[in-house]
């Protein structure tokens, strides 16, 4: 229950914030895989020098991790406004114009794209689930269908992120708070 007197705008901004928080945690889980992926590659390389082992499995695990990683990160990249924009005109516009263009872009471009991709990913993933798809190689890894389902996460969280942005724009709540990523000013 929202406390009495809270404007709908405030409620929308808080809903947007909640979505962004979920996206942030998804992104954090994805980002930690940078460490896992590096370790895996290192172990694979070193392991192959020392023991003569087949690395089909670890190579498959590498792209499994890589796929999970970028699927987890696309939504937060939009929240943090880190997707590339060609902003030669945009920089000269008023905030109001920018907001309108953003709303139009979300409705006309982002949502149709992400929705169509989500629907077809659903077909793609469920096909894989029903056949219990595993690696095409006999020595490969099982549970390929699990990895494929991260496509649903990618496009699903992207839609959520777009809706959160819409709510922010409607509530006039500005942009999502930025992560502190500065590694140089610490000392």
């Amino acid at each position: 229950m929202a406390p009495p007197g809270v404007a709908p705008a405030g409620r929308m901004a808080r809903a947007a914030r909640a979505v962004e928080r979920v996206n942030m945690w998804i992104a954090r889980s994805g980002a930690i895989l940078f460490v896992a992926l590096s370790l895996l590659v290192i172990v694979d390389v070193v392991g192959r020098q020392i023991f003569i082992i087949s690395s089909i499995r670890s190579q498959e695990l590498e792209w499994y991790l890589h796929t999970v990683m970028f699927c987890c990160l696309v939504a937060a990249t939009y929240d943090q406004d880190r997707h590339v924009r060609v902003d030669i005109f945009r920089v000269h516009w008023s905030d109001k114009t920018r907001d309108r263009v953003e709303v139009a872009g979300i409705f006309l471009l982002l949502l149709p794209f992400a929705t169509v991709m989500l629907i077809h990913s659903w077909g793609f993933v469920s096909q894989s689930f029903t056949t219990g798809e595993t690696s095409s190689s006999s020595q490969g890894l099982p549970y390929k269908f699990l990895i494929k389902s991260f496509l649903l996460l990618a496009f699903g969280s992207l839609i959520a992120s777009a809706v959160a942005r819409l709510m922010r724009l409607l509530a006039g709540a500005g942009e999502a708070p930025r992560w502190d990523l500065n590694i140089w000013d610490e000392e």
């Binding site: 992104a27 895996l40 890589h66 030669i88 872009g105 471009l109 990523l181 610490e186």
Partner: protein, 464 residues
């Protein structure tokens, strides 16, 4: 109905171009225009709903199950960790010390710094920002006009996209289906030639008295506390700095060496590079869990950006092709009777013009594939095998695409310099300052186009 068939691909391309200027994220414009024109095509009966399913399969096969692309996040991560270990700072100190008496010495120091950062970190945004923060105030204090200072930083910081290990070369290798190692090795000479050209230009400006005064920079810079030499540097400084610098350079030599000699795949080399970067940070006393975690997050956002464009571009290209876009381009080219060199030159001009507005990822993923079918009949150098031809072409494109970072009005590096330098650097000044570097770059591009040996000499010598 046939008019629609002919017109749709053209209309699709024009729509893409116009909507990109709305400033909405390029990845979503690509995907959105793809989906919308898929719907339009369905209205005319040229496209079917189920074909969108094929785009998902395409994304899966081309982006997810793709072993080459795994090297991208790893190289970005390696660069980010090296960045946080303070390589750039040490480098600038050392170079200022070494080049203090040379005309245009400080400018040359920036060029050398850009070249080393290019090979070690290779993240253009980070290199340019860092170099602006470190070197721009020093340059301006040493009587470098703000336009020249901004120009040399933007141009040198952008070398990272060309010099190996480079994410752009990995993506191009993937597009052309050629080995990454050949491209890495092929890019070495043109990349070094560029940085040599920049350095000579700075020296020329110095000799003409247009920039700085030898030694002026150093004596006017704040001194270091403690026991200093006559130029205001602490004694023994160069030893400390060298120690901090040798490690990353050796690391990159190992990473590239292991790729060139075929010991490791680019992905394996990148993974070992991450390990090496962590060790370098450890040796420099700069290894912090918080910094590594921030490197994970910021590398993650870069990957989210790159791979979203991959997905958007996959949808756009699929629909474009399905609507007959490739044939339309081929028809136009054939109707003008273009062949051989004409096609290559046309490609270079198109990429250069596109580069003023777009950046390398979209160009590599959208424009280059459109030209691919046209290349089949091109035989410019009798006796050259297909791989060598594609390596040469890919490097020509890389040099051209590097220019896209610094061509006004939309050049990423220019924005980074402007953003980091603050209001003291006017947009007009940076546009003016970058022009000589764009010209130098085009000269090198012309040279690489005319002398393929510049690209192929190293790969032929070491890989075949």
């Amino acid at each position: 109905m046939t008019w629609a068939m002919d017109l749709l691909p053209l209309l699709m391309f024009v729509t893409l171009f116009l909507l990109i200027f709305s400033g909405f994220p390029v990845a979503f414009v690509l995907g959105g225009v793809g989906v919308i024109f898929g719907f339009v095509g369905m209205g005319f009966g040229f496209f079917s709903w189920i074909e969108f399913f094929a785009t998902v399969t395409r994304i899966w096969g081309g982006v997810a199950e793709n072993l080459t692309l795994i090297a991208i996040p790893l190289f970005i991560f390696m660069g980010s960790i090296l960045d946080s270990s303070g390589v750039a700072n040490d480098l600038l100190l050392l170079l200022k010390r070494l080049l203090r008496r040379m005309p245009g010495g400080l400018g040359i120091a920036v060029v050398v710094m850009g070249t080393v950062l290019a090979a070690t970190t290779g993240i253009v945004g980070a290199s340019v920002t860092l170099m602006t923060l470190l070197a721009y105030p020093v340059l301006v204090r040493s009587h470098y006009p703000s336009s020249v200072a901004g120009g040399v930083i933007a141009a040198s910081g952008t070398l990272g996209i060309l010099l190996p290990p480079s994410v752009m070369l990995i993506v191009l290798a993937n597009t052309f289906a050629i080995p990454v190692g050949n491209l890495f090795l092929g890019a070495v000479l043109p990349g070094l030639l560029l940085s040599l050209a920049y350095a000579l230009f700075m020296m020329l400006l110095g000799l003409m008295g247009k920039v700085g005064r030898p030694g002026a920079s150093v004596s006017s810079a704040p001194s270091f506390p403690g026991d200093n030499d006559e130029d205001g540097f602490p004694r023994g400084l160069w030893l400390v700095v060298l120690r901090g610098l040798v490690a990353p350079v050796v690391l990159i030599a190992f990473v590239l060496g292991s790729i060139f000699t075929g010991v490791a795949t680019p992905t394996e080399a990148a993974g070992m590079g991450v390990l090496g970067a962590v060790l370098v940070a450890l040796v420099n006393g700069k290894l912090r869990v918080a910094a590594v975690w921030k490197s994970c997050l910021s590398s993650g956002l870069i990957c989210g950006m790159i791979f979203m464009i991959f997905m958007g571009a996959a949808v756009f290209s699929y629909v474009f092709r399905s609507l007959g876009g490739d044939d339309a381009v081929a028809d136009v080219v054939q109707s003008f009777g273009l062949e051989g060199w004409h096609i290559i030159v046309l490609m270079m001009i198109v990429v250069f013009i596109m580069g003023c507005f777009l950046d390398w990822i979209e160009i590599t993923l959208i424009i280059v594939p459109i030209f691919m079918p046209l290349l089949a009949g091109v035989d410019l150098f009798p006796g050259m095998d297909q791989t060598s031809f594609l390596v040469w072409l890919a490097i020509c494109l890389s040099v051209n695409l590097q220019t896209s970072f610094i061509t006004p009005p939309f050049g990423f590096s220019l924005f980074f310099v402007r953003g980091a330098a603050g209001p003291s650097l006017a947009t007009a000044a940076i546009y003016r300052g970058i022009i000589p570097f764009v010209v130098l770059q085009l000269l090198v591009l012309a040279l690489v186009l005319m002398v393929p040996e510049m690209v192929l000499w190293l790969p032929d010598k070491y890989l075949n």
